[in-house]
Structures are given as structure tokens and as C-alpha cells.
């Protein structure tokens, strides 16, 4: 029956031609092949975010007077509401983690080299978008921690010279973090960012399909010299089935996290209550937050915060354009980029740990 249906579709859609490239798609097989799973896992978690996000929209109400109560309602009154929300929150954190891991794996395997520069650029923008999702979504339950984290976060945006203040007012929907900010962030989180992310995701995945999967430069040199050494597996079904196993493992992890550690609701935000001591952003912003804290308040004649924000902006831009500094030849890749990647990974990990432990 399945075959008949498929045939029916094929006649009307030319389906087989469409998926033909997928059939011939291959995945290089080597000791580092496991890193190829990360992109797929991130995609899967994104799918979970879309599904649970839509479900949450059934009951969530934006607005300073209702947001907290509606999330509380989801957590206590709606059947399995706790599960949906906990999965949404945990999956968001896992997704950001896997997206970062994906970025670093691409960096270390040097998969961003020509002709995959655009894949890298689209991926980096996706990473920024994912962080935007995290930042905007964190405020939506309207609890004290989220309120003050948003206050601090948008305050930092305000440090950018010239553009900072208008940007902060744009983000906050006014001078202060209020119900208006919540409405905006809700809009960003459920409409603007998903739209942008979907387009970029399509571009990103399409590029991967068009260009095939990269091989680490060392192997590429070896395999070009000695084609018989080449090892690969078919994407369908061999790699896809393995990917599916990874997805199932991710699902199991999500289930365990959500059921045993349901995401905390916290206390409703009250703008008139003083900020709780040691307020910190979510872990994925911690390395930047900690850096800003460590920069002295005045460096030469520039304000320390401004300097930090500017530096992160420049580093971000540089990171986005990193592939264009790399050599075209697999045999002549630049070791300083790998060195930089090692340093960046150590820096992010170290600063995050420091920020987590610091009072």
C-alpha cells in the first residue's frame, strides 16, 4: 500500500527526482565521524522546540499581569503541562549546548573551508539567533530572576556607543523593563526569530546537501593521494539510522531531565523589589558577563563596559568571517585558526566556570 501511495505521489510531484540526491548522499567514515551527529541533534532539538513551543502557546498569555500566572497554570492545572514546559526549557538549553558543540566541531574539523564558507556564515547567524531565542524566551515566565537578567542584559546593550541607547529602548519598549518589554520579547520569540531561523535553517541544510559533507583536511590529502583508502557510508539508511539513535538518546535525556528535574517556576517578578544578590544571566551568556565584570571600569580613557561590548562585537564579526582567513588548500590549512579555536573553547569554558563559581 505504501508503494502505491508513493507511486501516486511520484507521478504528481516527481518525488523520486527530488530525493535522488539524498539517495546518493554519502557520509565520510573515519574516527571522527561521530561529530557529524551534532548538527542533526541540534536540528532535532529545534524541532522539539517548535512543537513544544506551539503547545505552550495554547495556554501562555503575554503581559506583566498574566504571564507568570499562565505559566503557573500550565505547570499546575494543565495535564502534562509541566512536562511540555520542562521539555521546552531543557531542550532549549541542550540545543544551545549542541549548537555551540557543533560550531566548535566544525572549527576543529576545519569543515568551514572553501567551498563551505556560506554554510559557516549561515550557521553562525543561526547560533546568534539561537542565543536570541534563549534571551527572549527566558523573560517570558516573568519571574524575578528573568526580570533582573533581562534588565542587566539590555543594560549591557545600552553600553554600545551611539547605537546602544536607541537599541536598548527598542528592546525594552521604553526606558525600563516593563510589561511592554515582555510583549516585545514574546513577539521576537514566537514570530520574528522563528521566521528568520526557519529561512536560515533551510539555507544551511540546503548548502549541506549541495556541498556534501566535509572531510578533515589531513584525511582529504590522504584520500586524494590514495583513493582506495577512502571510506564512506550511505546517508540513507546507514547514517540516518545512527542519527535516529542519537535523537532517541536525546529524547531519553530530555525525558529524564523533565520528569526528575522539572523546570523551576521561581517567584513572580516585582519591579519594586530590590534585585536579589548575585544575579547572573543564563549559563550561555555567562562567559561574556564574567568578562565584562573583569574588565576594569576605565581602560585608558575608554569606559571598561563599552570596551568589552565593542570587543565582543568585533570578535563576533571576526568569528563570522573566519572561513575567509583560511587557505583554499587542504594541505596548507592555517594552524593559527586551530590554535585560536582551542583558545576560544578554553576561554568560554573557563570563564563560564569562573562566572558560575564567582559570588
Amino acid at each position: 500500500m505504501f508503494a502505491t501511495l508513493r507511486h501516486w505521489f511520484d507521478e504528481r510531484f516527481n518525488w523520486d527526482d527530488l530525493i535522488a540526491p539524498l539517495r546518493h548522499k554519502i557520509v565520510p567514515k573515519h574516527s571522527l565521524s561521530y561529530w557529524y551527529f551534532l548538527g542533526g541533534i541540534t536540528l532535532f532539538l529545534f524541532g522539539i522546540q517548535v512543537a513544544t513551543g506551539i503547545l505552550l502557546l495554547l495556554y501562555y498569555r503575554p503581559g506583566a499581569n498574566e504571564a507568570f500566572e499562565s505559566v503557573q497554570y500550565i505547570m499546575t492545572q494543565v495535564q502534562f503541562g509541566w512536562l511540555i514546559r520542562s521539555i521546552h526549557s531543557w531542550s532549549a538549553n541542550l540545543m544551545i549546548f549542541t549548537a555551540f558543540a557543533h560550531m566548535f566541531s566544525v572549527l576543529f574539523l576545519k569543515a568551514y573551508r572553501k567551498p563551505r564558507e556560506l554554510t559557516w556564515v549561515s550557521g553562525m547567524i543561526l547560533l546568534f539567533l539561537v542565543m536570541g531565542f534563549g534571551f527572549s524566551g527566558y523573560l517570558l515566565p516573568w519571574n524575578t530572576l528573568a526580570f533582573f537578567a533581562t534588565k542587566v542584559g539590555t543594560e549591557i546593550t545600552g553600553q554600545v556607543p551611539i547605537m546602544g541607547k536607541p537599541m536598548m529602548i527598542f528592546l525594552r519598549g521604553g526606558e525600563e523593563v516593563t510589561g511592554a518589554t515582555l510583549t516585545r520579547f514574546f513577539g521576537f520569540h514566537v514570530a520574528v526569530l522563528p521566521g528568520l531561523a526557519t529561512v536560515l535553517l533551510l539555507v544551511h541544510v540546503l548548502l549541506v546537501q549541495r556541498l556534501g559533507i566535509s572531510v578533515p583536511p589531513k584525511l582529504e590529502v590522504q584520500w586524494t593521494a590514495n583513493p582506495s583508502a577512502r571510506r564512506e557510508m550511505k546517508f540513507f539508511p546507514n547514517f540516518a539510522l545512527r542519527e535516529m539513535m542519537a535523537w532517541y538518546v536525546a529524547l531519553a535525556a530530555l525525558g529524564v531531565l523533565a520528569a526528575i528535574f522539572p523546570w523551576n517556576l521561581g517567584v513572580k517578578a516585582d519591579p519594586f523589589v530590590p534585585a536579589p544578590a548575585g544575579i547572573k544571566p543564563e549559563w550561555y551568556f555567562l562567559f561574556m558577563f564574567q568578562t565584562l565584570k573583569l574588565i576594569p571600569s576605565k581602560v585608558w580613557f575608554i569606559d571598561g563596559e563599552v570596551l568589552g561590548v565593542l570587543a565582543f562585537g568585533l570578535v563576533g564579526l571576526f568569528w563570522l568571517l573566519l572561513p575567509f582567513f583560511e587557505s583554499d588548500q587542504p594541505s596548507r590549512t592555517k594552524p593559527w585558526i586551530t590554535g585560536l579555536a582551542v583558545f576560544a573553547l578554553a576561554y568560554v569554558a573557563g570563564m563560564s566556570a569562573y562566572g558560575h563559581l564567582a559570588k
Binding site: 505504501f2 508503494a3 503547545l55 502534562f80 539510522l241 535516529m244
Partner: protein
């Protein structure tokens, strides 16, 4: 989600096809794998779908009830009397004045958090714990209370008295 399903269907299909095409001796073993995989897939999908379907059913209590609440029926209070109602997580006090107008205030005493009551003999709000007295505007008139009571908005809707938090200006 759909993406996931497609992959699955294809795989199942493939498995079925290869089962038909290949005729090898260990068909029993292959059969077992298929049952195992198929059963697992069905069971896992059930365990994903079940919570989602239950989630879609709206709960019986639809009212969030923290910002606005029906404190009493129109006929419930007599003039010059008061009633404690639940406002969100804290008690509120609804007072009907002798002239028939209503007032609603937080019923949590600002001194040590006891629940205050309306005293028809004093026409004031009284906290029994340490003899604190508030007037009908919530002002702390005498006794220990350090601050006034929060005053809520009251209006009638149909035959119900509705109390809501004062909107921030």
C-alpha cells in the same frame, strides 16, 4: 516531528522490502529485530503522543484568577458589614458601607500579617492580633500597623461584585 516520521516510514518500508527480497536462513532472527524495533517505535510514539493529547484537553478551571476575582454576589452582603474573600494567594476584605457602596482592601495586616476584619460597631477595619485599626481608605489610624492596607478596585458586573488590583498608572 513530521520529518522524523518520514524517516521512520521509509525505514520500515525498506526493512519490509529487504525482508521480502532476501531469503536467508536467519529469518526468525530478522523477524525478531523487526518486532522489537516496530514495537519500540509504536510504544515510544504512544508515550510521546499520550501526554500531548492530554495536554490539549483544557483543564476544568479556566480562570487564572489572580488579577481579578468575584468577591461576592450582589445580594450577599448587608449594609455595614464585611466579608473575607480569597484574592490570589492572600485574603482580601470586601466591605459594604452603610450607604451601600463597596470597598475592597488587602486583609493582611501590615504589622505582623494577621487577617484583619470589619468592625461594624466602629465602622473601621480592625486587626485582632494587636488591636490595630485602619479606616475604610486603608489608612492605619491607630495601634501598631506601620503602613496602610492596599486598596483594590471594586465594581459590579451583573449580580457579581468584582475586585481587581489597581492598575499602575
Amino acid at each position: 516531528m513530521r520529518n522524523d516520521l518520514d524517516v521512520l516510514r521509509q525505514n520500515e518500508h525498506r526493512a519490509a522490502m529487504s525482508a521480502g527480497r532476501l531469503t536467508q536462513p536467519n529469518t526468525a532472527r530478522r523477524r525478531m529485530i523487526e518486532i522489537f524495533l516496530g514495537g519500540g517505535l509504536i510504544a515510544s510514539f504512544m508515550s510521546f503522543l499520550y501526554p500531548v493529547l492530554r495536554y490539549l484537553i483544557p483543564p476544568p478551571v479556566a480562570d487564572l484568577g489572580a488579577e481579578e476575582i468575584v468577591a461576592a454576589k450582589l445580594t450577599e452582603l448587608k449594609p455595614n458589614s464585611g466579608k473575607i474573600f480569597r484574592f490570589g494567594n492572600r485574603p482580601g476584605l470586601l466591605v459594604m458601607n452603610a450607604d451601600g457602596t463597596y470597598r475592597a482592601l488587602s486583609a493582611t495586616c501590615t504589622h505582623l500579617g494577621c487577617t484583619v476584619q470589619y468592625r461594624s460597631d466602629l465602622r473601621q477595619i480592625w486587626c485582632a492580633c494587636h488591636n490595630g485599626i485602619y479606616d475604610l481608605n486603608g489608612r492605619n489610624v491607630s495601634g501598631p500597623p506601620p503602613r496602610p492596607l492596599e486598596v483594590f478596585d471594586v465594581h459590579s458586573r451583573g449580580d457579581e461584585i468584582v475586585v481587581s488590583r489597581k492598575r499602575e498608572a
